[in-house]
């Protein structure tokens, strides 16, 4: 005879991740460190953008970076050449996204009292990372001129949950059949509140505006600290 019992649970599957994200957010808020979560498809130029950002802001903004990859520490090695500060590699070993527990573990290595800004470079993938809250203040989607203009329409969740979109590789616009205005219109149709930057990590075009934005995040955070 079988005696069957139903046990009600009603628990969100992401609850544990969101608990970790809350802990990350709490630590960063207490230390007045703004944080960004960089998303893009593979090859859009997240690492190149960060390399150029570190070169420009290296002396003025103390940036800690946590970079995730499915395999290899290549991105961390690339970035470490441009900063003496922490570049923490997270090798996901097959997982398609970073989760908040990995960020929480990585945060243990970050000297919070000696850091102005935390940037998490997610695994190159526009699907899964958008659904894992890492405890960041804002998500930034990087798209590039070698992709399709319809990326925002194909991957709406990433753009809907982001606050900023960076159109990278604008130095290639004369050579590729890419309609930048259409791409940005598509992004804004998915999320009208997106802040838009146009950059070339290679030539440096547009990086002043991008870096000014990062510096402003730090300035706002410091101002709130002194209130």
């Amino acid at each position: 005879m079988s005696v069957r019992t139903i046990v009600n649970v009603r628990e969100r599957v992401m609850a544990r991740n969101d608990d970790f994200a809350g802990t990350v957010r709490g630590r960063l808020t207490a230390a007045r460190i703004p944080s960004l979560n960089l998303l893009s498809s593979p090859g859009a130029g997240k690492t190149a953008l960060l390399e150029a950002t570190l070169q420009r802001l290296g002396d003025t903004v103390r940036i800690a970076i946590l970079t995730g990859d499915v395999q290899t520490q290549n991105d961390a090695d690339r970035l470490a050449k441009h900063t003496d500060r922490l570049v923490q590699a997270v090798v996901t070993g097959g997982a398609c996204h970073l989760d908040a527990s990995q960020v929480l573990n990585g945060l243990d290595a970050v000297p919070l009292d000696d850091t102005d800004l935390l940037i998490v470079e997610n695994v190159g993938n526009l699907v899964c990372p958008s659904h894992w809250d890492l405890g960041e203040d804002a998500k930034v989607v990087v798209m590039s001129t070698t992709e399709g203009e319809d990326k925002p329409l194909k991957y709406p969740a990433a753009f809907q949950r982001a606050s900023v979109v960076v159109l990278n590789k604008i130095d290639l616009l004369p050579y590729v059949p890419y309609d930048a205005e259409l791409a940005i219109r598509n992004a804004l149709s998915v999320n009208p509140a997106l802040r838009v930057f146009r950059t070339s990590a290679r030539t440096g075009e547009g990086l002043d505006e991008w870096c000014a934005y990062l510096a402003s995040l730090v300035a706002v955070s410091r101002a709130s600290a002194s209130v």
């Binding site: 079988s2 139903i6 046990v7 009600n8 649970v9 009603r10």
Partner: protein, 105 residues
């Protein structure tokens, strides 16, 4: 693509609840796990069910399977699970057997 991560977390939640209800070692009593999948949860139901049934059908579960209920919204929830206390548990892997390898020269 991330459905195995989600299936793993679902099994973690069920494992914790089973231990609370029946104590450790009762996972082989789990026969059915019901999951609510929001249509905006960015979850591929067939893939999630495949991963869940693979996990629930092996150690430490053994004889569980999953049932998915599509709902509106972006939540993914473990709704309920069923445990069967009376049926004999699935035969556990026999890890104590000794195998003699005969070498023929």
């Amino acid at each position: 693509m991330h459905e195995l991560s989600l299936a793993n977390e679902i099994c973690n939640i069920v494992e914790r609840e089973v231990q609370r209800e029946r104590g450790a070692g009762a996972l082989s009593c789990v026969t059915l796990v019901a999951v609510e999948v929001g249509d905006a949860a960015n979850v591929e139901p067939n893939s999630l069910q495949f991963c869940l049934d693979a996990l629930l059908g092996t150690h430490p579960f053994g004889r569980g399977r999953s049932t998915l209920q599509m709902v509106s919204g972006d939540d993914l929830r473990v709704s309920w699970f069923e445990i069967d206390d009376e049926s004999p548990p699935a035969t556990p892997l026999d890890v104590t057997s000794t195998y003699v390898l005969e070498v023929v020269s």
